[in-house]
């Protein structure tokens, strides 16, 4: 369905991948052959594009995605402690999903909220000056929400 919409768009492969991920949360690998056919690319080439970009995922994420900023500005304000805290609280490492299936943890390199470091992003909402207590609240909300 999405393929038809973007096939004629110049450089339309990235917009297509965004549309698929926006729609179902990830880009299933079994979609590569049909994408490849439409763009005249091999399956390996489609995989090459998808895997190049940090934003694209090939496995379904948890219900919510928690991004913790790892860039310098946030490091200067103790983001390292937030990373450690989130990992131990959720019992997972980066790129993993909590046992409940509710939260996927991802690193991110700058949210452009550097004057209010440290910053995290829960789904598409950014939070500034995040303390460990605030992070606990966000995690609790995400765990509770459907």
């Amino acid at each position: 369905m999405h393929i038809a919409a973007y096939k004629a768009v110049p450089g339309g492969l990235l917009p297509l991948l965004h549309a698929i991920q926006d729609d179902i949360g990830y880009i299933p690998e079994d979609s590569y052959p049909s994408i490849g056919k439409a763009w005249n690319l091999s399956v390996a080439e489609v995989h090459g594009v998808v895997s190049f970009y940090h934003h694209f995922r090939t496995q379904p994420p948890g219900k919510h995605i928690l991004h913790i900023c790892r860039a310098e500005s946030c490091q200067a304000m103790g983001s390292e402690y937030l990373e450690i805290h989130a990992k131990s609280k959720l019992g997972i490492d980066y790129h993993e999903t909590s046992l409940s299936g509710n939260i996927t943890l991802e690193p991110i390199y700058c949210l452009g909220n550097c004057a209010l470091s440290p910053a995290v992003m829960l789904d598409e909402k950014v939070y500034g000056r995040v303390s460990r207590t605030r992070l606990d609240e966000l995690i609790a909300v995400a765990e509770a929400a459907e």
Partner: protein, 530 residues
């Protein structure tokens, strides 16, 4: 009488609860049967005061901040709608020390207007640059930009007018204007503030660029980490189309310019212009060899202007007020202003647009108020993750492209990240290599392999093994990266690494050069003739 209140919709303000504050104000006003008009503006750039609520009074806009939803009732009780006194009141916004001495040219409207209102934009001198451009020959527009001395604000500082001239001189059936909005540098957010706070100025700048070089299509390559900017840009672009500021016949003048936003996908390297073009074409964002220059063979092989958001957003004021006006700001070969962005461990973080030439110390202390933690500032990284770390002894360097390159540092995109004395510079050097390894496009070996080797050697140094010997290895590796990489990612990773080693050797378990001689001299002073 309806009272106008401004509550920013800038994503940094939102990160501190601006939406909740706006809602609470509307609810509380309704409860008290007071008529208010809440306008969602961009940010004034004083982020430690966000959410900064402004009330329009007879005397001007009065600032209150940082406001939380629980402050709203007490603000109403204190008659803030008439500029009443309150613990959070800062008086008239325009009189605040932070804003009063800035030279806001590119950011003239940011935080003042409603970003998605074309009427508001027009009421605040918007589209005057385009109107003047339409009265000029395309070559004269290029000439004006060249004479202004504007250099690429993305970091490379290449003269914008010369780039435009190259594209102007090319004969082609299609040319493109590409805006690099993949603002990935840590400590920078000026592009985001423009896109969220005054999107029309970017649209206007791109339209002028299109008319100047003969390009009829433009793309804004926007990082995926900025969803709010995406929504605001799309809304503004739709208004511009509706009012004939974009389309097949701009303002009835026969010029055509079409513009769309394309989302990036979280790869830092795509801020490099050739990698960005690959990505726009729907490919892996791998760096291209140069030549050919993108100005000659760029997007889809066609002549392409690739400029940063701030560069393009500065074009309208240059066209409106003239090259001479803009050129009169700044020093040396750095003309005009740069929006500096204060970040990291800083008490008052935010945006300071000033002419080139002020010092880092003025920025850090006069504006920033020192560190957030109250501890001494030990190091400052200027120009993003590929910028050098500067020690206190270099804080008096004027912020100017050439003065910075004399001390082997860069201004880059104007990001200034402060670290207090708890920072371990060896850790930061390791991180620089790690970041390069994560973000390398993989095309050239020094960057792809060298970054990982760098992490490994730094691990040895941090473990205390053979520090002197391993530092020699890091220096040698850095030399390879500096001279052998295809683009600035590998080529500049040595800046943070070597500056950290050179200025803070103690953190690497090695002595400062000359330290041994100094210790010897100290020892010789001690009286041992007992």
């Amino acid at each position: 009488m309806t009272i106008r209140i401004y509550v920013p919709r800038d994503s940094s303000a939102l990160s501190m609860g601006a939406d909740e504050v706006a809602t609470k104000i509307i609810v509380e006003a309704a409860r008290r049967a007071i008529s208010v008009d809440v306008v969602r503006n961009g940010s004034r750039g004083m982020f430690w005061l966000e959410p900064l609520v402004e009330v329009v009074t007879d005397k001007g806009r009065v600032a209150y901040g940082p406001v939380t939803p629980s402050d709203v009732v007490s603000l109403f009780d204190s008659d803030f709608l008439n500029g009443g006194q309150h613990a959070l009141c800062h008086g008239l916004t325009d009189e605040l020390h932070w804003l009063k001495n800035q030279e806001r040219l590119t950011f003239a409207r940011v935080g003042i207007t409603d970003p998605v209102s074309l009427d508001d934009y027009l009421a605040h001198e918007g589209y005057r640059g385009l109107r003047r451009a339409l009265s000029l020959a395309p070559a004269a527009i290029v000439q004006e930009v060249t004479e202004s001395g504007l250099r690429g604000r993305g970091g490379a500082a290449f003269p914008t007018g010369i780039k435009w001239k190259t594209v102007f001189d090319c004969q082609a059936d299609q040319k493109y204007i590409v805006c690099n909005a993949d603002e990935g540098d840590s400590g920078t957010y000026s592009d985001r503030m423009i896109m969220e706070g005054d999107p029309f100025v970017l649209i206007e700048g791109m339209t002028i660029a299109g008319i100047a070089v003969g390009a009829t299509r433009g793309y804004i390559y926007l990082r995926s980490e900025y969803p709010d900017a995406l929504a605001i840009l799309n809304e503004a672009i739709a208004s511009a189309y509706a009012q004939q500021y974009l389309g097949d016949n701009i303002l009835g003048n026969g010029h055509r310019f079409h513009l769309e936003v394309r989302r990036a996908a979280g790869a830092y390297i795509c801020g490099e212009e050739t990698s960005l073009l690959e990505s726009l074409e729907g490919k892996r964002g791998q760096v291209r060899f140069k030549p050919p220059l993108p100005a000659i063979e760029g997007l889809f092989g066609k002549p392409t202007v690739v400029n940063n958001v701030v560069s393009l957003a500065t074009v309208p004021i240059i066209l409106d007020k003239g090259a001479e006006f803009y050129k009169n700001f700044g020093m040396g070969r750095s003309r005009g202003t740069l929006p500096f962005q204060l970040a990291g461990n800083i008490k008052q973080g935010g945006l300071v647009e000033k002419a080139f030439g002020l010092t880092l110390r003025q920025l850090l202390y006069d504006y920033g108020g020192g560190s957030a933690s109250g501890r001494p500032i030990k190091a400052v990284q200027v120009g993003g993750p590929l910028g050098a770390y500067l020690p206190e002894s270099q804080f008096d360097t004027p912020l100017d492209y050439e003065k910075f390159s004399e001390i082997w540092a860069v201004l880059g995109h104007g990001g200034v990240v402060a670290f207090d004395d708890t920072v371990d510079m060896a850790k930061m050097a390791r991180y620089a290599f790690e970041f390069c390894a994560v973000e390398s496009c993989g095309k050239c070996t020094p960057c792809r392999i060298g970054s990982t080797r760098g992490v490994e050697v730094m691990d040895k140094i941090m473990g205390g093994s053979d520090c002197e010997k391993n530092i020699t290895l890091v220096r040698d590796l850095s030399d390879t990266l500096l001279n052998g990489s295809l683009c600035a990612l590998g080529g500049m990773t040595p800046y943070p690494v070597l500056s950290a080693i050179n200025h803070f050797p103690e953190d690497f378990g090695i002595r400062r050069p000359g330290a041994m001689e100094e210790e010897q001299a100290e020892l010789e002073k001690v009286d041992i003739s007992y």
